[in-house]
Symmetry: D2
Subunit: 306 residues, 4 copies
């Protein structure tokens, strides 16, 4: 009855699909969760009508941005929840920001003098970030307010307008517009884009209406039949997805990709099984938790669910 | 010139102050950072006029809530940034919510059936959380709107009104009101309190004005002479404090208490030295990073800076 | 001059080689280290005559055992350092031990009653472990002592004799015998095999001569031209490889795959750059550190260096 | 019936005993484990006749060395299992080695040029380590072999002879000699002391007899009535203690202090509950697991159990 761990071998021309089948046989310890998660996501795509993708902002500073755009464009996921930082990096990169390959153990005081921000092992020249995002946001906002004559905006609909005006196929905002997938940013005020909206609102007639975002999310969740989620990282994006899922008796499918520890009691490190007690994940939900960096894990999984 | 590691001994009646002096001598590996952080915070209290405290919501579900209230009440910190979850737990506990000692490896499906939420190793009966927070928020909001005739609120000023109406000395909202310390919650929509405000706004004439919070934070930061911060945990609270600090050339004093890893490139795991490259921490700032659970670290440090 | 992060896309039929090229472009955060490590290992295979592979015992309880055997059989690595646990699992599985797919959150008291050991998410029936290893070791020892008339043994040469007598192609002991790759186990007394040797030595005339192992390792290191190492996990296996490398001015190529934190000052979490100060890694060594579970990382890398 | 989480306050003159009582009330998340562990250890001291202390070598490079010596000297623990590195640092420091306060983010290539080893945030001049340990070991060995006329030694009895010849009260070897507590080092060949013994054995008539160490451990375990253990860190020291405990149906009391993750299936990260399935910890054992750096945790706990 019990299935045995199986020794595997590998070869140079193996495919990622072969890799996942090897993971399944290897079983221990994270490998088997990747195989399991891939199965769950495949079923989720077929059976859940409402599929959340959540992630932290740092990922959009990496080449994962293209994969995330791909997942959105193909409506593998049809609701996105993320941070203001993700929007910042997406706008910066869509409008020519240079994100360069760097390293973790840089001399940070020297980088500061050279006006280069460090995000993990990525170097971002100052002029590719804050000023570029502010300038772009202002210009876009002028266009949007002029063309729509609307002065109060929910975040998700404002981001749709931004996506409409972006040419970069790897942009998550463009992909979301193209595929009509709403992007929610519950912590919108926390970053360059949010700050630009704030300073813009001091200059022009403009207001954010976050309660409309909640209304939209509420409509999505209450209108859903079955809910699934791929939750990459922790923080507000993770919590917001499972928070809303509770109003529909919880997620039916859920995958966490995380590096956070469980023992500090943080939401970021909490397992899907904790979420069951809050009604955020159904007791019978199909679920997996994958420990590791999303930059490694997501390409493997994404390739098999597209 | 170089100082040597010194072997220490301990005794049953030693004080926490003795403990910190022992940490200083022990030196390796996290111990020395605690001694250093305590020194930095003491200097910060004397020299920085604007002192941020940021923390994640889970801590308010524990007995650390009393210590955090104490730090606020004594204006050791005079600006607070936290999550909606922190407000949720503070309100729930101020109004009779029962937070019970539990354990991590519970049978979560059974807890679900018994209507008990699990937050790490804390058990929270359902009726002590969602319904209690919603009911209390509605009642408070009615009172506040009636007594003030004001329908549009920044979050920090609304929380002041809540604090004014709380009797519990261990409440962070009450302590913040008593000490006139603003509490900012950039992700206010993400939790029970935010959801209650949303549903309330569907019933009554009420609006949140988050841009006023930004205005207030902006005034605080631009009016500051020297900035300090004790940053407990990651996520939006951490980022928001250092984000705003950049507009005043960065923090002069900064302590991180964290369990997050640096290698995944997340903001939560990023070191103070990364923040230097963003102008969020001054190159000459006094800084320390303490790895460990805040439930262990904070009581030690807090006792010496009060 | 600086290279930019590049957005990537993935597709269902991509190869593992494509995956690594995607990692290179994604850059942040662990992804780029995998691409870099693969390059370093390829160069190491060409340029270093002495190539260490070290790993912890738990991996041999998984299907990685086949891959590790493959790496040894092909002399990708020509010196192995591991733990007694690795030998235990290799013998158990070579002689019919049933290692079954289980899960982490089992009821451990119930498993205990059913005489099933749990190793992470792998279930091992008691009769597949201790008794099987003891019985097999005794029988083998009788054979070996009889056929060789030698009563004092270095560990590496005794393990060669075991490998000679194993039929299982996925056995690391058999692969090491077939490829004439010595396996060193500096902590040989710590496990089932070591304990069986000890009890055997109480019954029969037999002695272990660990100093001969050191002599052999010493000959290998002093006879080496260039040293490389793939170090999976921490503990004694990791330390032993870098410890010996210092006597030849350090490793020229080194890759760590780890989940351990640096901040606790442990050897397991120490970076290659710390090893430079000890002369264990050359200042100019090519080096990478990959954070993550070896069950995920090793199949990817191994497939490209075979 | 259920106990509630209690809000606490702290004050400048509080004692470490007050701190632990605060931890008990705070409850979440690691705090409560410290209070629990202290209770368990107090009971263990009264009820278990055989009490293991295991730790990794890096701790002996810090000022914790004094506390560990104190715990041994007072026979709070009466069996020690550790690594060769611990012996290295103990000998180096007992004979004038200078261990200096350093920092993690040093320029390691520069340290290398200055002949300074880095161990986490501790700097150790080369002349305070390898050469000093070798010279001291040779001199001691000459004395010991001459005075005893014994040429084959178990590790624990050889270490007793070393302890007898050390004057430093903070030395764990001296404390172990003074209190007649055996120190076992299953991986004795892995470090400076072990290497010095090996080179010494090439020059003089001398042999290590590790099987005698096993015999002694076996006698201790089979002669024990109740077993307890404080296990600091992972690796071979941890495994060796629980490995031997299985032969007496497992530990009755066990505390782990660790930073290792459970999800990679390593022995270092495995919880006490996994050890139950192996018979290494009794199902009814009193047990706790404390996540954090021992440099912070041990002084707190040690002060209350002395």
């Amino acid at each position: 009855m019990e299935e045995s761990v199986e020794d595997v071998t590998v070869h140079r021309n193996m495919s990622v699909n072969d890799l996942i089948e090897a993971y399944r046989k290897i079983h221990g310890f994270v490998a088997s969760e990747i195989a399991k998660a891939t199965d769950i996501l495949k079923e989720m795509i077929n059976k859940a009508d409402t599929r959340f993708l959540t992630f932290t902002g740092n990922l959009i500073a990496t080449g994962l941005r293209g994969i995330i755009a791909q997942l959105i464009r193909n409506r593998i996921f049809n609701v996105v929840i993320t941070t203001c930082g993700a929007i910042d990096h997406d706008i910066a990169r869509a409008f020519g920001g240079k994100y360069q390959k760097g390293y973790f153990y840089a001399n940070d005081e020297e980088l500061k003098e050279r006006n280069i921000h460090r995000l993990g092992n990525i170097f971002i020249p100052l002029e590719s970030y804050g000023p570029l995002i502010e300038r772009t946001t202002y210009r876009m906002m002028d266009e949007i307010l002029t063309s729509t004559s609307k002065n109060e905006w929910s975040v998700y609909s404002l981001l749709m307008e931004f996506g409409k005006r972006i040419k970069d196929e790897n942009s998550i905002l463009k992909a979301a517009f193209d595929a009509n997938v709403p992007i929610f940013v519950p912590g919108i005020v926390d970053g360059a884009f949010g700050t630009a909206l704030f300073t813009y609102s001091q200059l022009k007639k403009f207001k954010l209406d976050l309660l409309s975002d909640m209304k939209k999310l509420s409509d999505i969740v209450f209108g859903a039949k079955r809910l699934g989620a791929l939750i990459i990282g922790g923080g507000i994006s993770k919590h917001h997805a499972i928070w809303w899922a509770q109003f529909k008796e919880g997620l039916d499918y859920v995958i966490y990709i995380t590096t956070a520890v469980e023992w500090d009691g943080s939401l970021s490190g909490a397992h899907p099984r904790e979420a069951i007690t809050w009604g955020k994940v159904k007791p019978k939900a199909k679920r997996a938790i994958i420990y590791g960096d999303a930059s490694v894990i997501l390409p493997i999984i994404a390739s098999q669910i597209l």
